[in-house]
């Protein structure tokens, strides 16, 4: 292989790119990185939701495990969804793209129907059927990723032209984005916008067009959220609170300040799992949008870096899929999911560590949340299915035998040695 061709070998294009990765750079690396990082984040999220919610749950007169069990239910709900998603072939996703878009638009429209609309924390992006509540924008993200992959991937070689890049992807994505914006949920809208932008970008749409679209979208967002009468003051305060001197310790910058307190109290090694002080009702949304601060407090810099690194691993793995998978649909969809999941993680972490103004988005897979968790798991399951169809991956995975046999083999060998 490339190694034998001399000192210039690493620069060649032969299969041996990144020889320093050795056997880690295999056809199943993406698959295992995705499965590993998702699994770890999921389990870690459960642990942190339990740790950060017990106090609040008890204070609310509930079982200390109430929030944890809710989260557990959603994980149990999401796991089969994720499993199925990992096994679905690419063509099924493509086939589901257009119906999915209609469903997503319909669900998102329900947020404007008073009979179904719910409002949580000033955002109206929720709908409810009886006791079941969900955020349609979460479904929208997944659907958009698939749909954009389908329409952009199909026209891949035509995307150099503005017209082909524009239709039908821009109106479709724009419609959903506007519907989400209508819910006045800035965080979700930003994530959806990042997802759309990522899809267009990786699909290869003309950079000029993206600049124009991005600029106009940013203008709309600025107009809607910074200067609209109803929310203007609130958001401007939040932004000035993030970058200026904190003037209203009990109000605008309270949450951000207590997030900082949590991180600072944690220090290098943390105060220990379960020993957070900020979770004693000081930090609002401790088990949700600000769970990263609790991680930082209980597990210290090592905890925060570990979570950050797990998202980096997710990003790297998805980047690998984009790079290695031959199907343009897969490339675009994976890039969209990557922009969504990693972008949302960055947004969340950036808010908690005080780099960004307070924008309420949950930390994917870790924060407590129902529909968001399930759709994120479904999206990652889908990317895992892509990773399974990377060149060579299918054969490598097929060759390794069943999970049961592998597990028993370890046990059997252990006994044999004794």
């Amino acid at each position: 292989m490339a190694v034998t061709t001399g000192p210039r070998a690493p620069r060649t294009d032969r299969g041996g790119q990144r020889p320093w990765l050795g056997q880690w750079n295999s056809s199943v690396t993406s698959y295992y990185l995705l499965v590993g990082a998702s699994g770890l984040l999921l389990v870690f999220g459960l642990v942190m939701v339990l740790s950060s919610s017990t106090v609040t749950s008890i204070a609310d007169g509930e079982s200390p495990y109430a929030e944890f069990l809710r989260q557990g239910q959603f994980v149990l709900l999401g796991l089969p969804v994720m499993l199925v998603a990992t096994r679905l072939p690419v063509r099924v996703y493509k086939a589901l793209a257009w119906p999915g878009l209609f469903v997503a638009v319909a669900l998102q429209s329900l947020t404007f129907v008073p009979a179904f609309a719910l409002s949580k924390g000033g955002n109206t992006g929720w709908i409810g059927f009886g006791s079941f509540t969900m955020q349609p924008a979460e479904v929208g993200k997944l659907v958009l990723a698939v749909w954009l992959g389908t329409v952009l991937g199909r026209k891949h070689h035509l995307l150099g032209s503005w017209k082909h890049a524009f239709l039908p992807a821009v109106p479709g994505a724009g419609l959903l984005l506007v519907l989400v914006l209508g819910g006045r949920d800035l965080g979700t809208a930003m994530i959806v916008a990042a997802l759309v932008a990522g899809a267009f970008w990786v699909a290869g749409a003309p950079a000029k067009m993206l600049a124009v679209l991005g600029g106009s979208a940013a203008t709309v967002v600025l107009y809607l959220f910074l200067f609209s009468a109803s929310h203007g003051g609130n958001r401007l305060n939040r932004i000035s609170a993030a970058y200026g001197e904190c003037t209203d310790v009990q109000g605008t910058c309270y949450q951000a300040l207590h997030g900082m307190y949590g991180l600072g109290t944690g220090g290098l090694f943390g105060v220990g799992l379960g020993a957070s002080r900020e979770k004693w009702k000081y930090l609002p949304e401790a088990h949700n949008d600000f769970v990263y601060a609790i991680i930082g407090e209980e597990l210290g810099l090592f905890g925060t870096l570990m979570v950050l690194m797990l998202f980096v691993v997710l990003g790297v793995a998805m980047s690998r899929v984009v790079r290695r998978h031959p199907d343009p649909f897969v490339k675009v969809t994976t890039a969209a999911v990557g922009c969504w999941v990693v972008g949302q993680a960055f947004l969340n972490i950036g808010v908690v560590i005080g780099v960004l103004p307070v924008i309420g988005v949950p930390l994917p897979l870790v924060s407590a949340g129902g529909s968001a968790l399930v759709t994120t798991m479904a999206a990652l399951g889908m990317v895992i299915s892509f990773a399974r169809t990377e060149p060579g991956a299918e054969q490598a995975l097929a060759a390794r035998g069943s999970a049961v046999r592998r597990s028993l083999a370890v046990v059997g060998r252990g006994r044999g040695r004794r």
Binding site: M1, R14, H157, S161, W201, G264, R277, V312, P326, G392
Partner: protein
């Protein structure tokens, strides 16, 4: 195209090399075609120079490849042009390369985040942690438990119990959410003030509507109930409303014995500081030292388990053990109340002293004063035994007799001719309380009959300075040493201010004032063989660990000799004899020595009387002094009539309670006449 590429990948997908080549081939073709966007972005001067250097491949392709190959390279060295039909506006940019841009952005973000995390958690961490901790620390003053006041046997006269002040934080209550909670009747709990009221009203014994009205508003602290008992507090605590309904530990002083020793024990103010009686006199012993509890608490006021703590525990106050005997005190109060009712007196005082030790067994005031009942100001008046002063009257003759005997001027059987009116050499005329023919009385007879004109004759042989010295030696005009608040020590004018009449008047207890305690002490001194002991109310203090520290008492001072004391006692026994003025003071089975008194009190332009009897028993081996004072009795002004029966009751009770053996039969009575 995408389908073709995908298929080719799966067909020869077994080999990674092939796959990457296929991908890169497509990418390469795109770039080779012309790829405006890509070339514009990458055609920097640096790249251009490299382009010259590298001879292989399409110039643009190689430049791009080199530009990106440092971060891993796309691969595709062999440029294939089998696909990628030329598009008029130009083919799209390569997804791989575009993805790389995203990776670069993500890398930058991660670098910024890691730097920021290190900054916040490592460099700024300690300062943030300290600020956060300081904000979490709560400082609560822990009230110290006030010591008890008990009688000599441990009967509790005053004690403190835990109580709670229940308040409301109206601002917090606005944010109260009932959630899934239900009230005692299973009804779902509402939000806000109504919800809190719904939970709290049944426990506080009010109605939901009434309580909700109190909970509505913007104030951070509104007291809902004071002196809430711990049982109720526990019920409220179980509601877990601490963020909305804060509760503070307070203390409530209670007096389990009620009216018994009420004015003596005194009272405390709202801050638990002693303001009267023993509570004030021994406040330094009783009051503990409040502690400070500093702990980490949650935003809604719960102590965080395992949190930082820095507490100084409260030091409970010590107990005060009085010399008072609860039962004797009760008996004294009961008797004096009865006497006041019977005689129509305005008030009465009884003092019982163990004359061997100076310990006061009872200080009783008439009238029910219950320190628990703070609706009236009665308890604030304190004990009259040390506050009210009056002329001692005939009981003051005892001091004159003591001086006469001690100086050897007279003997008990010295003979006097006593008319009912007597004019002294300096022209002052004194008369007895009632007219009588001239009597031939001994010294004992003068005392027994309480003759003023006789006493004046006795005083002829006692110089004024000597008289004054004895007054002072018996403790008149001096502090009693009880330390009770509001004590008035009475007035004994110095000799140089005595006029012609005062010089004689003081000999039978006029022209000077004493309080009941001082008058009692004179008799105790005689009963104690002439040694005066400072009267005391304090047996000792009991520290928090339960040990009794006896109080140090000053040595007694000898006032008169034992012989004089014995003679005087013998003379005073005749007062209670059939011929004396206080037959009613006799206690069956015991010999009693005492003296009646009737002193004039000038007040409000008129004259009224203080009728008294002070005595010791058993006369053969004195144990107790009991003094009884009645002010303005209506039935009779004579102490032998109105006060002596109270003496009999109280002394009899005290002697029996303490198990004092009955007296031996009286000896030869002293001759009263000659």
């Amino acid at each position: 195209m995408s389908k073709a590429a995908g298929r080719s990948a799966t067909v020869d997908g077994a080999s990674r090399k092939t796959a990457s080549r296929a991908g890169s081939g497509r990418a390469g073709s795109g770039r080779a075609g012309s790829g405006k966007a890509a070339s514009r972005r990458t055609a920097s001067p640096k790249v251009a120079s490299r382009r010259k250097a590298s001879g292989t491949g399409g110039s643009r392709t190689s430049a791009v490849r080199q530009a990106v190959s440092r971060s891993g390279g796309i691969g595709g060295g062999v440029v294939r042009r089998r696909q990628g039909p030329p598009q008029p506006p130009g083919p799209p940019a390569s997804p791989e390369r575009r993805q790389r841009w995203l990776l670069v952005i993500a890398t930058l973000v991660v670098v910024v985040f890691v730097a920021r995390l290190v900054q916040v958690q490592v460099f700024e961490g300690p300062a943030l942690a300290a600020t956060a901790l300081e904000n979490r620390m709560a400082t609560v003053v822990v009230p110290a438990h006030r010591g008890q006041i008990t009688d000599r046997d441990g009967v509790v006269l005053a004690t403190s119990v835990d109580r709670y002040t229940v308040a409301a934080d109206q601002q917090a209550i606005q944010t109260f959410r009932g959630g899934s909670r239900v009230d005692a009747e299973g009804e779902p709990v509402e939000d806000g003030a109504l919800g809190v009221a719904q939970l709290l009203a049944p426990i506080l014994g009010t109605t939901k509507a009434e309580l909700a009205a109190q909970l509505n508003g913007d104030r951070r602290y509104v007291v809902l109930a004071r002196n809430v008992e711990p049982e109720t507090q526990r019920k409220i605590r179980e509601l877990r409303l601490q963020a909305y309904v804060p509760m503070e530990l307070t203390s409530k002083r209670t007096y389990p014995s009620g009216t018994v020793a009420g004015p003596l024990v005194g009272f405390v103010d709202a801050d638990q500081v002693g303001q009267g009686g023993i509570e004030r006199a021994y406040d330094d012993v009783l009051a503990g030292k409040a502690g400070v509890d500093r702990y980490e608490r949650s935003r809604d006021g719960v102590r965080i388990p395992g949190g930082a703590e820095d507490s100084t525990p409260a030091q409970p106050g010590g107990d005060v053990v009085l010399t008072i005997d609860h039962d004797i005190q009760w008996k004294a109060e009961d008797s004096i109340d009865e006497a006041v009712a019977r005689t129509g007196a305005s008030y009465g005082i009884v003092v019982v002293e163990d004359l061997r030790t100076g310990e006061l067994m009872a200080i009783a005031d008439s009238g029910d004063v219950d320190p628990n009942d703070r609706t009236s100001a009665n308890v604030a008046k304190g004990s009259r035994a040390v506050q009210d002063t009056f002329e001692p009257g005939s009981t003051g003759k005892v001091i004159t007799m003591a001086a006469a005997l001690e100086t050897g001027a007279w003997q008990p059987d010295s003979q006097f001719t006593v008319p009912d009116r007597f004019t002294t050499p300096n022209g002052q005329t004194f008369r007895d309380s009632h007219d009588h023919p001239v009597q031939q009385l001994t010294l004992a007879g003068i005392l027994a009959h309480s003759s003023n004109s006789g006493t004046v004759q006795v005083a002829e042989k006692i110089p004024p300075q000597v008289q004054y010295d004895y007054l002072k030696k018996f403790g008149l005009g001096e502090s009693t040493g009880l330390d009770l608040p509001g004590e008035s020590r009475g007035t004994v004018h110095p000799v140089d201010r005595w006029d012609a009449r005062t010089r004689y008047a003081v000999t039978f207890g006029q022209a000077l004032t004493v309080n009941a305690m001082q008058a009692t002490s004179v008799f105790s001194t005689i009963g104690n063989g002439g040694v005066r002991l400072q009267p005391t109310l304090l047996k000792g203090t009991r520290t928090a660990d339960g040990e009794l520290e006896p109080v140090e008492r000053p040595e007694g001072t000898r006032v008169v000799s034992e012989e004089t004391a014995a003679s005087l006692l013998h003379m005073m026994e005749e007062v209670t004899s059939e011929e004396g003025t206080a037959v009613g003071a006799q206690v069956p089975g015991y010999r009693v020595a005492g003296k009646t008194g009737t002193a004039q009190i000038f007040e409000g332009g008129g004259v009224t009387y203080m009728a008294s009897f002070i005595g010791v028993a058993p006369a053969d081996d004195p144990r107790f002094t009991v003094s009884v004072f009645l002010k303005s009795p209506k039935t009779s002004i004579f102490g032998g009539v109105v006060a002596a029966p109270v003496f009999r009751d109280v002394m009899g009770f005290a002697l029996q309670k303490e198990g004092v053996p009955p007296s031996s039969p009286a000896g030869e009575p002293l001759p009263l006449e000659w």
